[in-house]
């Protein structure tokens, strides 16, 4: 561009020079203007022709420019004027003419229109077509998704696809459509209709119904009035309740609550008089409430209010009191409802006083709830007392303990009244002084004399029954229990000690049996011994600590086989045994013992087991090469270090199944024959064998009912022989088939589709 401009400017300067030169050479005169003009032009022409002969300037003269000082008829040049020549300027007439406007407009339009882009490549067009076609067909196909899903999930598919059988028309509907055909039927139905008799339903006739329904006018009125009244009352009551609920006065509520509590107590007393069983239930409820209280955090000085008070308590006496009150309340609420079986502790006291609640009542309670056997353990023992006392001698030292205990309690217990029964036994036992100070106060608050009265008659009833048993049995009971507790210990020390007397006894019995042939039931010793055995077994089997396992196994096994099991007593004793006398049997036992003295069965068995365990253990691999890296020869062993280095420890296998069963050897070998029949590959969707195992839990017809088996073995696909199975159609599954969206059409003649689709697509594209 620059070069061009430079050339132009150069050219222009040349011309100007020429133009400048001209007037100098030829001064213009006006007079000779016309004549001169001609001449001048000619001259000019000549000059030009001459200069055109010059090779350089020839071209320049051919350029046309306009509106320049030099105007030539041959060319238009814009020289001189600053702007470019525009076509419209040329067209612009001097006067505006309408005919040219159209041309101008056309010109404008042509100017505004952009150039048409290049058409796309063929491949690209095809790709677009394909995409659209895919979308379309997938849309069509997606319609079938639910059908496919349903078929996949169906338990059974029946081909050829038939429409689902319309449900069997129930007989009522068949009957409804039925009309009396024969004249006889018509006659009958006429009669029935005439008399308004039920046609199908042999129930009441309308007349009967009406008579049943009927109600006299007075009755109706009365009933209405009643209903009205009830409704009004209800609304009043509701309104009142709402009002009361809105009262904010704390005092009022407190009073209300107190009143309620009083009422409840009164009710309870009444109930006790009338129905002790129900009263006990009430007690139980109280107990439950207590439990709830114990569970909750209420009244524990842990609330927001309590915390705020705690801060204040240091300075504020009232706050302190409030807190204490709350604590006291908590204590009160969580007091145990001890239904008079604080006999254990309050024994001494009970000996002086009469039992507050007769035992009969307590027993009823046990039967009623039977909640926690631990709570009422002594009851069962109580029941057995009569039996127990004869058999068990009372040891002295527990008695002493007991009495000391009771003495301590006495001071407290004196004040105890009815509500003592509701108190927690535990709190009594762990007698901290504070508790003792606090509790009686609470107890005194609740009124005692009345309740004493309440129970007095009940007590009177059972007094006769219970007093003897209680006074004699209580001591015995406690002693019995302590004895029982001690017995196991003693037994562990000397197992034979216990066994011997028992055994002797049974032998005595045997004697008796032999003579009299009658059965004597002495339950107790047997059960006691059994219980002991059980305990022992339990402790041996379960509670065995791990570190002594090996040692205990041996002991255990010994125990297992040597423990004396109670001998049977039966009506008919074998004749041979009958002949046997006591001493004789002892002799026999001796003989047996001697006979088996040599072969220690247990030791043999343990040895066998040890061998089996050893054999089943994986072996270590010793890779030591003697003589390598050190001296070798007879009598020389590779060093321990080396052996240690080249010993490959076998991995420890899973623990044996009989590890904790001393009297059992379980073979750990695999049954390969049976394993050949087991499933060895997991089928596809399962990832874990347990999952698969769960699906094969209902095998065969042997363990299932016939119907269940048939259902289980139902074939997945059923075809009817001799029927053509046609592909599924839209009509089959309830779709309306439209020619456009039906895929079957598409599949049938893809060519047509392509042509049509192309057209369609083209349309789409153009639009």
């Amino acid at each position: 561009m620059n070069a061009n401009q430079a050339a132009e400017s150069l050219l222009a300067s040349n011309q100007q020079k020429e133009l400048e030169d001209l007037p100098k050479d030829y001064p213009l005169s006006t007079s000779e203007d016309e004549g001169d003009k001609d001449e001048e032009r000619k001259h000019q022409k000549l000059l030009e022709s001459i200069s055109s002969l010059n090779g350089k300037d020839r071209q320049k003269l051919a350029d046309r420019s306009e509106a320049s000082l030099k105007v030539s008829e041959f060319s238009v040049s814009s020289e001189g004027s600053g702007e470019k020549l525009v076509l419209s300027d040329l067209l612009e007439p001097v006067k505006t003419s309408s005919s040219l406007a159209a041309v101008k407009k056309q010109l404008n339009r042509v100017k505004s229109k952009k150039t048409v882009e290049l058409p796309l490549h063929r491949e690209e067009i095809e790709r677009i077509h394909r995409e659209v076609a895919f979308n379309k067909s997938s849309q069509i196909l997606s319609k079938w998704d639910p059908v496919v899903l349903k078929n996949r999930q169906a338990e059974q598919l029946v081909f050829p696809l038939s429409k689902p059988q319309s449900a069997f028309a129930p007989i009522e509907h068949v009957v409804n459509g039925w009309k009396a055909g024969t004249p006889l039927e018509q006659e009958i139905f006429n009669l029935l209709h005439k008399n308004k008799q039920p046609v199908t339903d042999p129930l009441l006739t309308p007349v009967e119904k009406a008579s049943l329904k009927a109600m006299s006018l007075e009755e109706v009125k009365m009933r209405r009035a009643e209903l009205q009244r009830a409704r009004a009352l209800q609304s009043y009551y509701e309104a009142r309740a709402r009002r009361e609920k809105r009262i904010k006065s704390k005092k009022y509520h407190r009073i209300l609550k107190k009143g309620k509590a009083k009422q409840a107590l009164k009710d309870f007393e009444k109930l006790q008089k009338v129905n002790p069983a129900a009263a006990l239930e009430e007690l139980e409820k109280l107990d439950k409430a207590r439990m709830m209280e114990r569970m909750s955090l209420k009244h524990q000085n842990s609330g927001k209010w309590a915390k705020s008070k705690a801060i204040m308590a240091k300075y504020d006496l009232e706050a302190r009191q409030a807190m204490q009150e709350q604590l006291a309340r908590n204590k009160e609420l969580t007091q145990k409802v001890a239904a008079s079986e604080s006999e254990e502790e309050g024994e001494g006291q009970e000996e002086e006083e009469e039992p507050l609640v007769p035992d009969l009542v307590n027993e009823v309670q046990i039967k009623a709830n039977g909640l926690n056997p631990w709570m009422f353990r002594n009851h069962f023992i109580d029941a057995k007392e009569a039996e127990v006392q004869k058999d068990l001698e009372d040891p002295a030292e527990p008695e002493a303990q007991e009495t000391s205990e009771s003495e301590e309690e006495k001071a407290v217990v004196e004040e105890e009244t009815l509500l003592k029964e509701f108190e927690e036994r535990r709190s009594l036992r762990q007698k901290s002084e504070l508790n003792h100070m606090a509790e009686p106060v609470h107890r005194r608050v609740t009124k005692d004399p009345s309740s004493q009265e309440v129970l007095s008659d009940l007590r009177a009833l059972c007094q006769k029954l219970s007093t003897e048993n209680h006074q004699s049995g209580k001591q015995e009971l406690s002693s019995a229990r302590t004895a029982q507790r001690e017995e196991p210990a003693r037994e562990e020390e000397e197992p034979m000690l216990l066994q011997r007397p028992e055994r002797a006894r049974t032998l005595d019995e045997l004697e008796e049996l032999g003579r009299e042939g009658c059965v004597e039931n002495e339950e107790l010793p047997r059960t006691a011994v059994e219980g002991l055995q059980l305990e022992k077994n339990l402790s041996n089997h379960i509670g065995a600590p791990k570190e002594k396992k090996r040692k205990e196994q041996m002991i255990d096994l010994q125990n297992l086989l040597t423990t004396k099991s109670p001998s049977v007593k039966s009506l008919a004793v074998p004749t041979t045994v009958q002949e046997l006398e006591d001493e004789e049997e002892r002799d026999q036992r001796q003989i047996i013992k001697e006979a088996f003295a040599g072969d220690d069965v247990i030791r043999d068995f343990l040895k066998e087991k040890r061998e089996a365990v050893e054999a089943s253990k994986p072996k270590d691999l010793d890779l030591t090469l003697p003589g390598w890296g050190e001296w070798g020869g007879i009598g020389l062993k590779p060093s321990a270090k080396k052996r240690r280095r080249f010993l490959i420890k076998a991995p420890e296998g899973p623990p044996r199944k009989d590890k904790n069963l001393p009297n059992v050897i379980i073979n750990e070998k695999r049954n390969t024959h049976a394993a050949a029949h087991q499933v060895q590959v997991l089928p596809h969707p399962f990832t874990h064998h347990q999952q698969f195992e769960r699906t094969i839990q209902t095998p065969g017809s042997t363990w299932n009912t016939q119907r269940a088996f048939q259902k289980l073995t139902m074939p997945k696909v059923v075809t009817k022989p001799g029927h053509i199975i046609k592909p599924i159609k839209a009509e089959d599954v309830g779709y309306r088939s439209s020619s456009r969206s039906d895929l079957s059409v598409i599949q049938r003649n893809p060519k047509r589709l392509s042509i049509r689709h192309k057209k369609h697509l083209e349309n789409n594209c153009v639009d």
């Binding site: 449900a167 069997f168 028309a169 129930p170 339903d201 042999p202 129930l203 119904k209 329904k213 059965v519 086989l561 040597t562 099991s565 109670p566 001998s567 049977v568 039966s570 009506l571 008919a572 074998p574 004749t575 045994v577 047996i592 088996f596 072969d599 069965v601 890779l623 390598w628 080249f646 490959i648 420890k649 991995p651 009297n663 059992v664 073979n667 049954n671 049976a674 394993a675 029949h677 087991q678 499933v679 060895q680 590959v681 997991l682 089928p683 969707p685 874990h688 064998h689 769960r694 699906t695 094969i696 839990q697 095998p699 065969g700 042997t702 363990w703 299932n704 009912t705 119907r707 259902k711």
Partner: protein, 707 residues
Amino acid sequence: METVPEPGSNVPPKKDRLQTKKKKPRRYWEQETTGTAAGASPGPPRKRKRNRELRPQKPKKNDTSKKFRMSKKPRELKSPRPQRSLSGAQDPFAGPAPVSVEVVQKYCRIDKSKELPHPKTKTRSRLVVAEAQEEETSVRAARSELLLTEEPGFLEGEDGEDTAKIRQADIVEAVDIASAAKHFDLNLRQFGPYRLNYSRTGRHLAFGGRRGHVAALDWVTKKLTCEINVMEAVRDIRFLHSEALLAVAQNRWLHIYDNQGIELHCVRRCDRVTRLEFLPFHFLLATASETGFLTYLDVSVGKIVAALNARAGRLSVMTQNPYNAVIHLGHSNGTVSLWSPAMKEPLVKILCHRGGVRAVAVDSTGMHMATSGLDHQLKVFDLRGTFQPLSARTLPQGAGHLAFSQRGLLAAGMGDVVNIWAGQGKASPPSLEQPYLTHRLSGHVHGLQFCPYEDVLGVGHSGGITSMLVPGAAEPNFDGLESNPYRSRKQRQEWEVKALLEKVPAELICLDPRALAEVDVISLEQAKKERAERLVRSGAPRAWVPLPTTSHPHCILRSTAPCLRGCCSFHLPPLPQGYDPDARTPFQPKPKQKGRSSTASLVKRKRKVMDQEHRVSGHRGRAGHPKGNALLLAPLASSTCHFSPVSPYPGQNPPEPGAAAAEAREGQAHGGPAVGPGQIRALSQAPGPRRNILSPRPPVGNYPSLE
């Protein structure tokens, strides 16, 4: 009176609705029901189906609170049917019959409490289907309990009265004539103590005296089928699968007779047999011999399946466990050993007594075993895995013979007295506190067996045979297709064919027959491992660095091949595994985007992730089953045993135990063909009385026609 809304009427039948649209002719009961509730007919209102009054659809809820209506299927089947019948009367027991939950629970085989490893969606759907099927089948089975019409009898003493005092004569006096006829004595003093055996149907009785007297009879009608004298000592006698064949253990060999008394076979390979047992589902005759061999003879093909040496001297105590067809042998050293023909060694050996074992019996549920020994003890053992004594009792003179009845009564013969103990229910062990019944015989007991499906105990003794009445001993309901006491000859033959077709292979006898329904995990794991070894990961093959043999002198392998044992650190160990497509890729921490990502931090991160996984898996394992940890650890140990504790390859990272742990935890495998029907069949052929293994098959059809 209020209308009783029907259950299920909230699903109005479609047809109904259509008809109401068509303006059905109005019925007189319709207007009434729309009127007042009082005095309306019991029929349900049709037009006001959506009425709120009818919504409470569970009027019977309170009385069927314990029961529930299971099985959605039957209800679905019924739903299109309208609730009203033609007469307008209402079905008082609409819907499917209620099934009690406990009964259904009894037939339930899937333990839903057991947690499964988290399944994929596809698997889950399969599991759901399986569970639904199982529930349906158990409901069906529970329903079919309706067909078990008979109830067991029992003897109950008046308050405080001991049932053991009740004599046979009293019982016979009290019962009906037909039952009284079942008590009888056969006085056969001539041919010594008798052994006896009832056929499986309980209809036939065979007995053999020590001095060669063998007889078989239909003991109900007392019709003698055969009577012979084999002129040889008879040790034991046993019916084979039907009453037509009779195996007799004679002094020398084992002989088989038919019901005419014709000798069919003399099996000389079974010599000096002392005891016989027949396993009905396997067609196996188990013989215990004086020579100490336990021999299994397949009577359907006449082949000896297995001859096992018990290595415990003379065998004279044998019984079978009817639940799993395992043979129990009692030995003189106080042990009882359990045998299966598939194993050469005893499956379990239990030390039961100090002295020798005199008698063993196993109850029909296979849960309890009673043993008596020379130490005069009678013990009841728990056979469900622990093999511990549940109760024990010293008898004045130890029991020489024991027998369990179908309902779990235990009979013991002591000298000339038979004591019977009863438990609480069917599957409970007999309590040895108090005998239920006692009976004195005219001679010493030599054989005891409860008759199946009859409340009868047969006792063979030195004075002959006694059949005594024991109320509540036998199963009151029999399966007409399985063992029908009233079957005809034709039926017997048909049953025989069927039974032969369903014969269970002998090798399937194992302690837990349900184990056959489990996947063989060991071979599964093995196959998985092999597959992994076959598929070597294509990328990054590890080059072996064969070192000159001289440089690793300690290795026992003197070749350039890698040392597979990892015994010497000079070799590179092999790749621990090939390529396991199922295995989870081990965690690989991403390198840091910025800054230096030091190796230490990478290792640290790896360690952290590994620890976390380990913790999670350990927890899961503990939650799942007690062996979870052991399972986890075992493969770990095995995988690490390839490597010496010091990293043998200096240039490479040590193998990640985390990866191994992950693999061990996964323990999964894909693919493979589906299970063929043969597997299922194998399971269905599990031994034992089928009624007791999984669930009783209810008697279907074929009711006995009382003759």
